[in-house]
Structures are given as C-alpha cells and as structure tokens.
Symmetry: C2
Subunit: 604 residues, 2 copies
C-alpha cells in the first residue's frame, strides 16, 4: 500500500535525523496531513439524540411530484422522516460553538486511544460495513475515519469492516477490518486505496439475496455506501430489500462525486467536488498566466463532467476564461456544433482586433454527447460499422453508406476526429464516445472556421491552439480542508444513523454557509430524493442527477460576467490548494453562491 | 493585465467587507503571495563590495578544454574574473546571519517607500534594462523585483526599463518603466506577463548595432537577460558586441529554464525547475493514488524536457513510478523503441503475476527525437512528403516510396501515430515532432506487444492505458518559496553587478545547501561556461546544455531504487505546493542530491 510510512523500510542514507524522504514513500505534506484534525460540528462533541427533523419535506428534491410511483417501489422505506442530531448537552441547543465538549477539537487527536473512550452510558458494540462505490473523489478516506471515530468514541469495542473493490466486494465477501492503527496512514489523504472502489451494482434478485446473506453472516448492524446518484439509488434498493427480508442491517448513503451533480434541497454538495475543482482551477490559472505571457496560444481545456457541467462552471468562476461551454445551456438553446464554433470564432475575432491572439476555453467532457447532430451521427455509424467489413483506414467506401444529413456532419469533422470515430470502437463495435478528444475537435473546427473567415477577409488575426485534458489528477488529490471536514462529519453522522437503527437515509451536513462548529448534522430519506425516469424503456425510480440550473445563482453569476471575460483579460489565478494560511478554509464558489448569495464561506 | 486587483473595478455585490472575490480578478492566495517577503542572503542586507572571487576557475563548466577557440570569439570578454559580493559590515564576514541588517527581512516589506531609501554613501542613479527570453519559468517576476529592490535601496532615483516581448522588444525599442507601484501586483506571481517574453535572438551584425543604438539612446548602464542556455549565449554575444563598440552598457545573464539543463559548477540550478517539478509531481502523485484505488489503468505521463530529462528524473524521485524513461540513458545504451517497449512489457507482465494491472510510466517529451530509428524515418518522410502529391488519408501509395528499413519502422507504428506523422506538417512540409504524442505511441506499442505475448501464452494479465501530458501548466505556476527567493536574490545580484560596471557575467547564488541567510552571491563569466559545438556545419561557442549525468548522484539514486519501484507500489504523493507549513521551504531532490548527498535543503 502506497502511503503507509510505518511499514516502509528505509533503504539507506540513515546519516542522521534529517534524511531526505526519497528513501521512504512518505512526503512531508502527506505526513503532516495525517496528523491534521478536522474541525467538528459542535453537536458531535457532546451528547446528542437522533430526532425527527420536524421540517416539512420537499417532494423528492427535484420539485417533481411522482411520489406515488416511487413509494410503490419502496413500500418498506416510504414514509420515513428526515432526522437530525440534536444536542442534549446543556446549553448546546442555543449555541453550538459553546457547547460542552466531549472530545473538543482544540485538544482532539486523530483516533482516540483505547484507554480513553468516552461513550454514551448506553454504549453497545456494533458491527458496521462500509463500501466505496464508483469513481474516486477526494475525502473518501475521511468518511471511513469519521465512521470509525464515531464507533471508537461512542461504541468502543465495535467493528468496522471495509468491503474491498466496491459493491462487488460485498457479494464476494471480500473485506478487511478497519482499526485506528490501520486508519492512521489514510487520514486526510487522497484516493480510495485503503479498500478500493468499483462500479458493481447490487440490483438483481440473486445479488440482493447474496448481499443479505453476507450482511447476516457478518452480523452487520449497518452498511454505509459512499457513492453518486446511481450508487445511492442502489443503496435505497438495498435498504428496501434488507428491510423486506426482515434484516436489521440499516443502509445509509453518503453523497460522493467530484461531478457535483448529487445535490438537492437537503444535500448541499457531494464530497470531492470542492477539491477537484480547486485542482483543475489551479492548472487553468497557470495556463492563463502562460497565455498572457506568451500571447500566442488559445488553450482548449476539457474537464471532467459528462451529464452535468458543474465542474466547468465552478472552474470558470474561479478563473475567468474567454469562454466556458455549459452543456445544460446548449441543450436548452438547442445549439449545434456549428453554432458553438461560430460563437467561439466571434470571440477570437473580437480579441484579434485588440491584438490579443490568445485565450482560454473550457469545456466539459460531456459536450460531445450533448450536441444533437453528433449523437445522430454516432448512432448511424454504430449501425454501419457493425455490419460491414469497411476498411476504416480509407473511408471512401464508408461514407456512401451514411444518410446525407449524417454524411454532411461527418464531412464537417476534422480528419483526426473522423479517425477516432472509425477506429476507436469497443468490443461491441460501438464508437467510444469518451475517447473522442472533444477539445481537439473544437480546436480543429475553429481553425477551419477562422480559415474560412480569413479567406473572406473577415479575420486577419493569428490563431494557434493547444489542448489539455484535466481529469484523473483531480479525483485523488489530498482533500481540501473543506472536503476533509465535510467527509469526517458525514462519516460520523452515518455511524450515528446506523447506531440508531436507521435505514434508507443519506447522511447530511447542513448550514454549510456557517463555520463548521455550527453545521447541523442528520439524515434524509433516499426515497424522498427520488423520482421516476425512463431508462432503457422502463420507468425506474432514481435519484435524479442535479444539472446546472440555468436560472440559478451560479450560472447567473457566470452569465453576468462572461461577456466581459470574453474580450478582457480578467484572468484569476487561484494558486495551489493550501492547507494553512489564506483561503485554506474557504469553500468553492458554487456553494457560496447557492447558499449565501456570494458571501464567502469559511469553515474554520 | 490579469493580476492587478487595484485596477480592476468591482462590479457589484458590495454588501460588506466579506465579498467573494469572483467579482474581482484577485484570489486570496495570489494576494497573500504579493505581500510575502522572501528571505534574503545576509550579505545583501548590509554594506558589500563586489570583489574577485579568488577561487580558481574551472574550465568552462563542462570540463571541456576548448578555451582558446572560445576566447578567440570573445576577445573583449575573455580573462574576466568571477566575482563575489563581500560584506563590509562589521562581523558579517564571520557570520552572515548575524550581520548588521540594512533592511532586515524580519521587518522588511516589499519595495521600500520612496521616503526611506538606505543607499550607499556613493549612490548614483542608474538606468537599467531587463528582458525575459524564451519560455516562461516560475519566478521571472521576482528577478525583476530583485533588480528593482536593489536600485530602490542602493541607487534611489534610478530607472528600470522592462523590454516587452523578449529580445525583439530591445530591437523594437518597446519598453515600459518598472516602478515599485507597478511591481507590487507581480511579486511572487507566476508568468512573465508583466513585460512578456519572446524567442527572438540578437545575433546578426545589424541587430547587434540596433541593440547598441537602443542601449545608447536609452543611456543604459546595464541590460539584464533572463534566459536559458541559448539566451545566455546570446547575452555573451551582446556583451562582447557592446564592449567592442565602446559602450559602457554591461550585460548580465540570469539562469532561467524549467528544464533544469542550464547548470554547471558555478550555477547550481536554473530558476523555475523547482516549481515546475513540484507542480508535475503533485499531479503524478494524484494519478498514483487513482491508479492504486481503481487498479485498472496504466497511466503514461509525458513531461516537458526535450534535450535533457532532468524534469522526468526529479519527478520520478518525488513520486516513485513503475518506470521513468531517461533519454540520456537511452542515448548511452543505444536503445531502440522496441527495446523500451520490451522492457516496459516485462514490468507489466511481472506486475500482472502479482495481480497488479495498473501503474505509472513517466517519459520526457524529447523521447521521440532520441530514438534513432524514428529520427531516420522522420528524415525520409520529410523528403518523400515534400515532393509528392501523396493522398495522406490513404497512405498505400506513400509506403512504396520509403526505404525498406524505414518502412518497417513505419509499419511498426500505430495507425494514429502514422496519421500524425503524415498529417501534422509545418508550412515547409516537415513533420512536427513536438506534435507527436509520444505517450500515446508508447501506450499503443505496448498494447501491441502485450497482445503478441498474450497470443503466445506469455502474458495473461489485463492491460488498459490512459495518457497525460503535463507541460504548460508548470511553466507559469506561482513560484515556490525556493524559486521566489532564488529569483529575488539573482535579480538583486544582477543589479549589483551592473552597478559595478560588470559585463558578460551570469548572476549567481551559491551554497544553496545552506539556509538562505548564508548563501553567497556573485557573478561568473559567461565565456567560462562556454565550449565549441558544431551547429549547422559551423563551430560555434555556446553554453552547453547540462544533460543528466549517468554517473551522477541524481540518476544514481534513481538507478538504485527503480527496480524496487517497478514491481512494488512504492508510490509517494508529494501533495500541492505549500507556501506555509511543512516542506514549504524545501528545495527539490535534484539539488539536495547534487549539493549535499541527499540531505534535505531548507532555505528558511
């Protein structure tokens, strides 16, 4: 395992205390983060009870009213109340930050010693399982640590089992016991590598039974699922199934995804979004300084985010690019690829008149799927390529098989992208959309358009482009102070919900616009976040992906400023993530705009 | 200009003091860095004299003995002595850090107020020009600030002129006056955008005359050139030319390049290398955590560095990848592409036996040029493509024109790379080597090799790869504390050398293995760093690029550890650059190994 310095033999060069750490696998920053103790909501420091929230429920978060169909799919879960952790320590209800401290953050260290558990008087031992599901997101290890700390502090002698490799690890009964000793190496570290992750789903009847058998065999009081919208939908299915089978194992979800598209009225943000956007924004800011210095390139930056463009939008607010493509807007305005290219060409031409032949364009990786005419082309290509023995290196024979509309789109595309469409096919013969380098596509189309304008005398600037993809390096960064704190809180809350025998809830932390001490902590019914969507020809209850709201404050802020950013050089360089000093405790702009109209959020 | 908050109107949302800075172009980290005052060698805080170093010169740094030819090319410069700034304050010579403080770092602020200059008694006003040459490197703005601070403190009333857009700005007499007010926005910031940069050269007789005319017209006492090996070679040419024409304008160089290939016995490192490597290493560390978590991808990471592989080597030491390709080693061992692929396949196969189907491979962008058979192929392709009307989308007709050896290499290459070789040609019809995505080439060749082994039953693992290029985002990052401090020191030294009427020297800071207070500061003759190289059929005196030394301590450390890193998961995640807290003041491993046998360097 990569980050466990205690287990790493030091090879040589032991001349004295100050030996360079090339010889171990540790780094000073990773090491110092391990020692860092995130702040904690005051309610978690004293005695608390899990009580009904009392706030009227909003119908399924999305404002949608398909309650009855959803309820029908979850007969055992429906009707649950949202809950909140309510302090029962004297004075705490009035002022969280002055609440009596059970294990105060000032003197708190990571992981209580076995000799000093401070449990509730009613403490019993619990057996809890945890699983990480789907793509990595910064902070996952802190969720695990949060659950473990809850158990250590409130139910000493309890057991935490981490299922390896995602939901598949449950079915395979592949797990490890997580102790404070083992946890120490992973606190505030990036990655999911302590127990791994996976994209498996537990949906089929036999898998649901297998999961129930494992939960029973391991005598689990609870199972905590960290995942995105799909994984939490799956958590609800599991909770329903366990309850219907009479199991006492509660299932609790934790909102994870760097894409930021798992949120609603009760879940302000998913963990990992803050860190990933800050990693990308640093790099974009650096590119901007480079563009401004060299004055000769347009940089096209593709960012993660397929269904939703939250990452691109947040990064745009952080850095002020010439343009950022927001798929939700494209979709709404029914823009075609040629329209996007024309708009970008207009910006390039306007800047060229000011002598500025450089700039930065941001785009989400989901763009290619959101452009209607490319979608249609891909669909036809899949069919044509599937049943012919076309020589794809010379595509003359292919093009005769396309309908005229799709052929026109195909011929509009640059050669390299045509090649990607023809060559990069999956084992079923389908075009691999994710492999298409949309940033190159856009650059090449823009080159073509500007060339055309130049011939017509409508453009006399210089144009040269460079492309970038910022993706995987944002998923496993060390979490920001915000994500580290948010995750530890969610983990602690999930532990508390499981201990109370709750099931089918998502752990939540609210009032994130305040200092961490004043956050409220609770659980919200997964079923009440769901609505019915048509998937593969069937109505299915799902947690709907939260898309960028075109009339919301985040897109509103961008819309207000983007005209100015397009032509001016209003670049903003956020710099590298800091764990101490200025902005170390600030949350992202998306949260600031959504929760408190642009007032900066500082968790400390 | 991007980073000047004082000049940026605030649009709206002025509800109170705590307004989110989306509405300005400033970021809290950028802003706090502006206020940061780098530490300073003690000698710069008191009175000092510029005196001959007294240390015997090593012949032209490279150990080469072509002195006479070089001397012949620089008759007016040859014979210069290295110089050092020697403290004349009482006690300072004995203990730098307890020297009387002229403008002590504890209370020092950025840019003295006009009311408090503390000049030498002999202060006269100077007129100095500065130019940034070549690619961006973190710290450039601090060199300018260092020169300005020298002038403000020691020669109040002096003038600093920044030539815009590189050496071309000198010829075009395009400059701006740099004042403390203007400088404030750029201190400790990334980029070269205050005055820009450019790749122009001043070599031809008429350009040398033009530069002399400008220097005379502007009455320059000195011209400071920040650049890499080529630009500093050019600085020597300029110094010789100015002196031969009887101009009193001194020319002083400053060693700049992220590639780290401008160094020798007197110049420990070039500025920017430290920051760029830390930016890349953070991202690589993140990818490693991702690889370790997902356990399904090999990541191929291309890094900057064409002639020399210092960046790849430093990043390998920082992160511990499965393999890092060092071009100097390839060159020495005369390895072909197929050899590299075979070695990588061996590593993948060995790991697959342990159930590890993931990993990280680092490669420098110069790789493609260092592989002999690709070089030969490109040369022939350039000729073939130049004089035929080949339809490059169907290359059947082309391949018949290649010699059998090159045809074999061509057919060994993956389709996508063949397309890049055929399609990406510059206006002269030449293949654009830099556009070839070597990381993809290597990945695809490895896929082919592993497929072959699988058919033969020699490989039964899974293999899937992802490619990355980390380049431009490292050139304009905010400089690390090391680079910020090194640059401010070099700038201050350059100012002092110019004031002393020196010319043809490179500003140097030495003893970098000690705390900054104890660094020595001086100047070394550019001519003594030069040797004769054959360029375009002519003998030319140049500053030789410093390549990775295969018998040096840095490659030695890698060689000792790489076998272990290949199969084990010994990943090291350095985390984001920190400006406060652990490791904030540490220098890179390359410097630590070269200067002090792996003892960590801490400048504070």
């Amino acid at each position: 395992m990569g980050l466990a310095p205690a287990h790493t033999p030091v090879l040589k060069k032991q001349k004295g205390a100050a030996v360079m750490d090339i010889w171990t696998n540790d780094s000073p920053i990773a090491n110092s983060r391990r020692q860092w103790v995130p702040p904690r909501p005051a309610v978690l420091n004293g005695e608390f009870q899990v009580v009904a929230d009392g706030v009227p429920k909003s119908p399924n978060g999305s404002g949608n009213t398909c309650d009855d169909k959803v309820k029908g799919a979850f007969p055992h879960l429906q009707g649950q109340e949202p809950v909140v952790l309510k302090s029962t320590s004297a004075g705490a209800a009035l002022n969280g930050s002055s609440a009596p401290v059970l294990n105060g953050s000032a003197s708190r260290t990571n992981g209580l010693q076995a000799s000093e558990p401070k449990a509730n008087s009613s403490a019993r031992t619990l057996r809890v399982g945890i699983v990480l599901s789907g793509g990595q997101a910064p902070g996952g290890h802190n969720v695990i640590a949060g659950v473990l700390d809850y158990l250590t502090e409130r139910h000493p002698g309890s057991t935490l089992l981490g299922f390896r490799g995602g939901p598949g690890g449950i079915l395979a009964k592949d797990f490890m016991e997580i102790t404070q000793d083992k946890m120490a190496a992973f606190r505030n570290q990036g990655g999911f590598h302590m127990i791994g992750s996976g994209r498996g789903k537990i949906e089929k009847a036999e898998d649901l039974q297998k999961a129930a058998d494992v939960a029973q065999a391991l005598r689990l009081d609870g199972l905590i699922v960290c995942g995105g919208d799909d994984s939490n939908t799956n958590a609800a299915v599991l909770a329903e199934s366990f309850k219907s089978k009479g199991l006492h194992t509660g299932v609790v979800g934790v909102p994870k995804t760097i894409d930021g598209d798992l949120k609603n009225a009760q879940v302000a943000t998913s963990f990992g979004f803050d860190t990933a956007c800050k990693v990308y924004s640093e790099q974009i800011g650096n590119l901007m300084m480079d563009a401004l210095s060299a004055k000769k390139y347009y940089h096209f930056v593709r960012l993660m985010g397929r269904a939703a463009s939250h990452i691109t939008l947040e990064c745009a607010l952080q850095t002020h690019p010439q343009a950022a493509i927001i798929c939700e807007e494209l979709h709404h305005s029914k823009q075609r690829l040629a329209d996007i290219v024309r708009e970008l060409a207009d910006i390039v031409a306007a800047r060229a008149k000011d002598g500025k032949n450089y700039g930065i364009i941001l785009l989400p990786e989901g763009l290619i799927e959101h452009v209607p005419e490319i979608g249609a082309l891909i669909q036809e290509l899949n069919e044509v390529l599937a049943d012919t023995g076309v020589d794809v290196s010379c595509h003359d024979s292919l093009v005769t098989k396309l309908t005229p509309a799709n052929l026109a789109v195909f011929q509009f595309l640059p050669t390299e992208v045509r090649q990607q469409l023809l060559l990069d096919r999956d084992p079923h013969g389908n075009v691999q959309v994710a492999r298409i380098e949309t940033e190159k596509l856009l650059l090449q189309l823009l080159e073509t358009e500007l060339g055309r304008r130049a011939k017509e005398g409508a453009f006399s600037g210089k144009f040269a482009g460079l492309t970038h993809y910022f993706g995987y390096e944002g998923r496993c960064s060390m979490p920001t102070n915000f994500d580290a704190t948010y995750c530890a809180t969610l983990g602690y809350a999930a532990g508390a919900l499981v201990a109370e025998g709750k099931t089918g809830l998502m752990a939540t932390a609210s009032c994130l616009d305040r200092a961490c001490a004043d956050w409220t902590v609770g659980g919200y019914p997964l079923v009440d976040m769901m609505c019915i969507e048509r998937r593969r020809g069937k109505d299915k209850p799902v947690i709907r992906k939260a898309l960028v709201e075109l009339d919301g404050p985040v897109f509103g802020a961008y819309k207000e400023l983007r005209q100015r950013w397009a032509t001016e050089d209003a670049y903003r360089s956020p710099g590298p993530i800091q764990f101490e000093g200025p902005a170390a405790n600030a949350a992202n702009f998306t949260l600031s705009l959504e929760l408190c109209d642009g007032q900066p959020i500082n968790i400390a």
